[in-house]
């Protein structure tokens, strides 16, 4: 692909993606009063993250077993109110230990 073509693609990609983020963030500054609309935007963050996490988390590592281990660690740590970083690292450690265990057992 010629460098010039690359830059045309790049600009279209970047500008489209930027405008999608910028226009609503800049224009919708008035507080929403409608109870239902407001509730919708209260729910959206958590419903997006929930739907993005399950079931994808179970396929995020090398095997479903290690992913399940990482998921359980993350659930326990979050339930106890631990920090984002600790939960993330815990999930990683849980998954990695099972992966390593499986590697040595094979």
């Amino acid at each position: 692909m010629p460098v010039k073509t690359f830059f045309i693609y790049l600009v279209i990609m970047a500008v489209t993606t930027y405008l999608i983020r910028m226009i609503p963030f800049t224009l919708f500054r008035r507080k929403i009063e409608n109870r239902r609309v407001k509730a919708f935007f209260d729910y959206i963050p958590y419903s997006v993250l929930s739907a993005m996490t399950f079931p994808s988390i179970l396929y995020s590592t090398g095997s479903m077993l290690s992913a399940a281990a990482g998921t359980v660690v993350a659930l326990i740590l979050s339930f106890r109110g631990r920090s984002l970083l600790l939960v993330a690292v815990g999930a990683f450690a849980g998954a990695l230990s099972v992966e390593l265990l499986m590697m040595f057992l094979h």
Binding site: M13, A51, I57, S60, L84
Partner: protein, 243 residues
């Protein structure tokens, strides 16, 4: 009014951005590897990452670029895949406090991603310009650096490490959602509903035409709509309206 985010400045944002940056390092690493395998240079991969800051959209864009797809196709695909950011932007716009003026909004909106949105939303009832600036720094660095590393040394690291690294980002999502669900039963219900739809779309063959990212957004929107219709108000909202 108890407002956790009011005291949160640049440093708190930076700290909250750390796990996101770590997660991005691993996710963008695979983007770097992919870009090279499709024939791009390392600097092209890095440029895409630093100007787009999005996973699904970049992967789709890469495919269109390397298959010499149309320019309109490029714009439309980015619009469809990334339209969820518009919803997040509106939601975040409600939570940004008065320190977030017009130029800051125009500049910082660049950093709205799924994860940054999740953390900023979960940080309290409102957030400041400084907090949000701090929040996006490490994710942007992680995303760009990960792409660079993936493009340059992708084939050297053991696969087992890269594989396990990817779960970080999901662990972080759980850490954002679960504590809020424990406090607010309505959010717990809507989240459970979103997961049910997501699982349904994932495992039922009939829904295979929905791409992964789009299926998640659709699940989330349906769940939030049902929540908005049947569970529209709470005391917390009344407080916010008054404040």
């Amino acid at each position: 009014m108890a407002d956790k985010a009011r005291g949160k400045g640049f440093k708190a944002g930076l700290l909250h951005g750390l796990p996101i940056g770590m997660g991005y390092l691993s996710v963008s690493f695979s983007f770097g590897v992919l870009a090279i395998s499709l024939g791009l240079n390392w600097w092209q991969a890095v440029l895409i990452s630093i100007t787009n800051l999005t996973s699904a959209g970049q992967v789709a864009g890469l495919g269109i670029m390397t298959s010499a797809g149309g320019l309109i196709e490029m714009a439309v695909s980015q619009l469809v895949i990334n339209i969820r950011y518009s919803l997040m932007s509106i939601s975040l716009s409600q939570k940004a406090d008065s320190s977030m003026n017009l130029p800051s909004r125009m500049l910082l909106s660049f950093g709205i991603t799924d994860e940054i949105f999740g953390v900023a939303s979960g940080s309290g009832e409102s957030f400041s310009r400084r907090y949000f600036t701090g929040l996006i720094v490490l994710p942007v660095i992680g995303w760009t650096l990960g792409t660079f590393l993936g493009a340059v040394i992708g084939s050297v690291l053991p696969q087992i490490l890269i594989d396990s690294f990817s779960i970080c980002i999901y662990g972080m999502f759980i850490a954002i959602v679960l504590p809020v669900c424990r406090k607010d039963r309505r959010i717990a219900l809507v989240s459970a509903l979103a997961i049910s739809f997501s699982v349904l779309f994932y495992y039922v063959g009939f829904f295979d035409f929905l791409s992964g990212g789009f299926a998640s957004v659709l699940s989330a929107v349906i769940a939030a709509l049902i929540g908005a219709i049947f569970l529209p108000s709470s005391k917390k909202e009344a407080d916010q309206d008054a404040g």
